[in-house]
Symmetry: C2
Subunit: 197 residues, 2 copies
């Protein structure tokens, strides 16, 4: 497998983290993001969305960090990380969708603005990110993990940008359940970090 990667991207990081957790070897291919390499061939042919991460495995080329987590869990991770029973799978999906939508519009956008200078409405991102923190805090009341009483790719998908929130001026702050959940993820065997985390 090859992972086309940017070290500072939380979406790339979540793939690196999961590959470490499930002990899958891969080749890291650093992408010169500042030079716009993701917008030019060959990367723009591999992913017309012109984003990273991109994962290749044999003939397969995949975009989108959540879709990549689904692939890796199904192929290499086993039922624990992503169960195939319909109800159990759908409950994991609910939180993959939160990573793709609410957290992307919240914590991720706020960090893109502050850390990378993206022109977007930081106030709106903060508002959405604060809602994310409240939803997670409530969800994690009396729970160790987002679903199924064990870590799944739901946790891996939601964790990075929430834990990097301070880089967009949305620290986890007074949300003890969220902080406990972050600490539990960091305590997982074979956990790897990234800068600022």
């Amino acid at each position: 497998m090859k992972l086309y990667d940017l070290e500072l991207s939380g979406n790339c990081y979540k793939v690196r983290l999961f590959l470490a957790l499930i002990e899958q070897p891969y080749t890291l291919v650093p992408v010169d993001f500042l030079a716009g390499a993701h917008k030019e061939a060959p990367l723009s042919d591999m992913n017309p969305f012109c984003e990273i991460p991109i994962l290749t495995d044999g003939d397969l080329t995949l975009r989108d960090s959540q879709a990549i987590l689904v692939y890796l869990a199904r192929k290499y991770g086993g039922e624990a990380w992503l169960p195939t029973e319909p109800s159990a799978m759908a409950q994991v999906m609910e939180w993959l969708m939160m990573a793709e939508n609410e957290i992307a519009r919240g914590q991720n956008d706020a960090r893109l603005h502050d850390k990378f200078g993206y022109e977007l409405d930081h106030g709106l991102a903060v508002q959405k990110a604060e809602r994310v923190l409240k939803l997670l805090e409530d969800r994690l009341e009396g729970r160790e993990w987002l679903v199924h009483d064990r870590p799944t790719i739901a946790d891996i998908a939601c964790f990075p940008y929430v834990a990097l929130g301070h880089e967009g001026r949305i620290p986890v702050g007074d949300h003890p359940n969220v902080q406990g959940w972050i600490d539990r993820i960091k305590d997982l065997p074979r956990f790897v970090g990234m800068p600022e985390l």
Copy 2:
């Protein structure tokens, strides 16, 4: 099964459409959205995100239209709509994520602004929606469906807001591949429509 529904919601509609396609009976529970019923108990307990659709099936309660499609496909739809083989499943996921992210920020936001008076940046939504149309037009060059040479929940997830684009001033316009794809979905056996579509 019960579907907590708003007729004019494209996210609710995609669930109604899929239930019709796979011939699953269910009870429709209309939600008084204008009165804010989704923000109050019992709905806000069933879905703390305070959004619809919500699907219940026995003891299971699910939020998020994409997660609901995954559930219905796994439980009632069979392998054709959502294959479980890792690579095939992940390729469907890529487009569920486009529905959850790019189309939500594009066509869906533009329509929320124009049709329901949401205060958001319509110009930004148009920009994102036009990118969605280009990505879909390119993807559908020489293809009938988004993945796997047959209809999957990827098509069902992406279709509604793209086809409703004119309600947010982003008509499909001069995108013949997208228009052909919309027409093929409308030709599926047991297809049901919604207002303005």
